[in-house]
Symmetry: C2
Subunit: 495 residues, 2 copies
């Protein structure tokens, strides 16, 4: 815990105040007055992102409107060795947009234009502050949409999605952000404007676009994104199956995939998650079930009918105690309502909760559920499990009370152990939320020193001074050697 918590920097520190005054003076030479925030009450709203356990006031906040302003801001910070943290909507769950007390918080909130939408090429070129859902809304008149749909899609921005390589319930079929972005324009810390990717299937040279997507603001600042649009499927239908045993549900997931079916979404919730969701939104879930699966099939009407039948048969054969098929779109959305509300639903039954994000091979699902339950008992903390089961991305929610002394710390330790369990069974410590500051210690478990050194070398190729989002994503060797020496980490598995 103490290793994760960053040192809080005093906003009033005299030396930083002097730095602030100086930078503000320079910024004001090319930015309008409403684009530079320097008072404590002005910068307060930016002190955290969706991982609100960590808070830090930024040195100051800038809200540029143009690419040229972004270039000048970054050139200035580069010349003065001032760290820069870029921020979209601040909905991220791993603390990737946590400010630096000695650094500039660069908000892309004013980059909200859809620059071009080409229904023929099925692409949209947008500014980074455009909300994820706004792209689909703009594309809807053409029968098109943007596929990745993180739970926060009503608020989160495409720039943030690029930074975190966001997913969503449909990424099993339609992929993550990296599979749905064709090109990115970015500004380097030195103020250079660079374009990565192209509208073609492949591009020559190293694939810097894929490298950049998911790089958590550490390689450059996104100023334009070209996304792929997909045709809205003719029809979608959902199936809800209940199980008296979590392992049977896990096995059913494998059966569906093994049958060659790629559902648009394949989600799993365990007993505690089902009950919390049902109490909250009354979706009609069977509250006595140990687990439910929600499987959505989309495509042409004929395809959907055929695959829904096959999935029903597989679910019944796998021991489901009940299988329901949505009769219309209203019922389909009702099936999803509880799943989509699972996080706030858990928030109602516990003073606080901590949402984890790990990925495991599908075959390890039963083992990971069993060992998570054991650890839950060991730590005396309830855990509700919500899964993007089809792609093995799990979101255990640890229920705790931050007002009880030591409970936050125990929660974080349990969370860390769950992530390390993911690595142990051959998975990874993140599915779609990124590393940020939250999982930086677990990076020491996921990667060996040579691999981490390679990450740092790539970082230096973009940002030799290490000014972009320092302290996030990739741990220093010093942090890892300290983490590995902690007494309770002797049983961990650095590979």
């Amino acid at each position: 815990m103490s290793l994760i918590q960053p040192t809080r920097i005093d906003f009033e520190d005299p030396q930083l105040s002097a730095t602030r005054a100086e930078i503000v003076r320079e910024l004001r030479t090319f930015l309008p007055s409403d684009a530079v925030l320097e008072q404590q009450e002005q910068v307060q709203p930016y002190e955290c992102d969706g991982l609100s356990a960590y808070r830090q006031l930024p040195l100051l906040v800038v809200l540029p409107r143009t690419v040229e302003e972004v270039q000048r801001i970054l050139r200035l910070c580069h010349a003065r060795d001032v760290p820069v943290v870029a921020r979209g909507a601040g909905t991220g769950l791993s603390g990737g947009a946590l400010p630096r007390g000695d650094g500039v918080l660069l908000s892309l909130a004013r980059f909200t234009r859809i620059l071009d939408l080409d229904p023929g090429a099925r692409t949209a070129r947008v500014e980074p502050g455009v909300r994820n859902l706004a792209i689909s809304e703009a594309a809807a008149p053409h029968g098109l949409y943007y596929a990745p749909d993180p739970s926060s899609q009503i608020a989160c921005t495409i720039g943030g999605n690029v930074a975190e390589n966001s997913g969503g319930v449909h990424c099993l079929k339609y992929g993550l952000t990296v599979h749905n972005v064709l090109a990115v324009k970015l500004v380097t810390i030195e103020g250079e404007l660079i374009e990565l990717g192209s509208s073609g299937l492949d591009a020559p040279g190293y694939d810097l676009l894929a490298l950049f997507i998911g790089s958590e603001g550490m390689l450059g600042v996104t100023v334009e994104v070209t996304v792929k649009l997909l045709p809205v499927p003719e029809r979608a239908q959902a199936i809800l199956a209940a199980y008296d045993d979590v392992e049977k549900a896990g096995q059913a997931v494998g059966d569906i995939i093994a049958a060659g079916i790629i559902p648009a979404g394949l989600e799993m919730m365990d007993g505690p998650a089902i009950q919390a969701a049902e109490d909250f939104v009354h979706a009609g879930y069977p509250t006595d079930a140990a687990a439910i699966l929600i499987c959505e099939i989309d495509g042409t009407s004929q395809e959907v009918s055929e695959e829904v039948m096959r999935v029903r048969d597989l679910l019944l054969a796998s021991g489901a105690t009940e299988v329901r098929t949505s009769r219309d779109d209203a019922e389909r959305l009702m099936f999803w309502k509880g799943r989509k509300a699972a996080f706030p639903a858990v928030g109602r039954i516990s003073p606080d909760y901590y949402c984890m994000d790990g990925t495991i091979p599908r075959r390890a699902l039963p083992e990971v559920l069993r060992r998570t339950a054991e650890m839950s008992r060991e730590y005396g903390l309830r855990v509700a499990n919500v899964f993007h089961a089809g792609d093995g991305n799990m979101h255990p929610l640890i229920l705790f009370d931050a007002n009880k002394p030591g409970e936050l710390e125990r929660t974080e330790e349990l969370g860390g152990r769950i992530l390390e369990l993911c690595v142990e069974v051959g998975g990874t410590i993140t599915g779609e939320h990124g590393v940020g500051i939250e999982k930086i210690n677990q990076m020491c478990v996921q990667f060996n020193p040579e691999e981490l050194a390679q990450f740092h070398a790539v970082k230096a190729a973009f940002d030799p001074k290490g000014l972009l989002n320092p302290g996030k994503g990739v741990p220093t060797p010093k942090r890892c050697s300290e983490y590995r020496q902690l007494p309770d980490h002797s049983h961990r598995h650095p590979h």
Copy 2:
């Protein structure tokens, strides 16, 4: 031309002979005698890859059998500043495996084991020298296959596919190598063994796996690859449509994609290509057509029936003069036979031919065909066009006679101009063959100096001394400034 042609290095050069003797002595301390080739007749077979216009004898050839041997070879080369060119089957078409006269040619030909094939997880873990088709053959008893299918799939190896990010006729639906590889183990020039990727959908840290795939042997040497396997589709059917006008065929491609259909393959051939193919393999193509389209649909039996009907209707509506649907697998394979034999077919009607590889937005197809025909007349060189039309990847084949003075040079100049036309219309200079040495000048047109500088910085993060496959893939600033100053390049479009 003179800028592309690398300086040939004399195999007998006394200083290099001394270097060779010294390195061979050191290599023999840990390699068996059959793993080091140093005589001219022994190294001759390695003097070129599929781009046989460029030839160079390597300093020596090593054929290691184990990862540890690869590590020791690279450590030795790193310590002695000796360049290293890795080679799979040598089927590449852009000269990516062209040896260096002052460097070691590292063949992965002995890494031919399939280490693991997991039908449940649908993955195969293989050594880099395993042939592309051998993976599908090994997976066939489980009803699975490996999707990317370059024309050379019977010979090319998965390590080479990773280096070039290879595609194939099915990549429209199933993606390139980067979309079908889950993990790569590589050895750095310093001899470190690093693993990139994971069996999960996402991995934390920078996406070095995507960066590495397609990096043409310039960042490290692949020693193990984990690929995704897909279920063999229940059924596949092909449709052949003839057109009296190339632009109509181009429009039909757009219509199919716009209808939301993603064919397993969607290929186009123009008149000269049709005639050459028909004369060669007698596939029954309509030789009076200006263009043909071959569209393959795969999936469940029901899906295929439905989509084939829709495609037929679209093709007829787009003005096809004839539409044939394959009645059985024999007829389907017959439709493909001519397409797959197009390159050797053209080889029969011309003493030499040069296969280009560029990608354009689908909407630019008619314009690019028209302007290619104009340039063909301007240079007095015939061009046959073969396209992966669905994804805009074109393979113009320039017919020439290397024995006619100046004709190879004119061919290369025409090829370069076709690639630059691809860039001008918003496309890229490679679809699936890589840059290698062939397209290195066009990289100066595709990218601006800042972008190229970023490529070099990333390269330096892996290989600071620049020993891995030097001179390929990414041009030096000096080369680009020389190329941009050539008198006939004043009309080009560096962006």
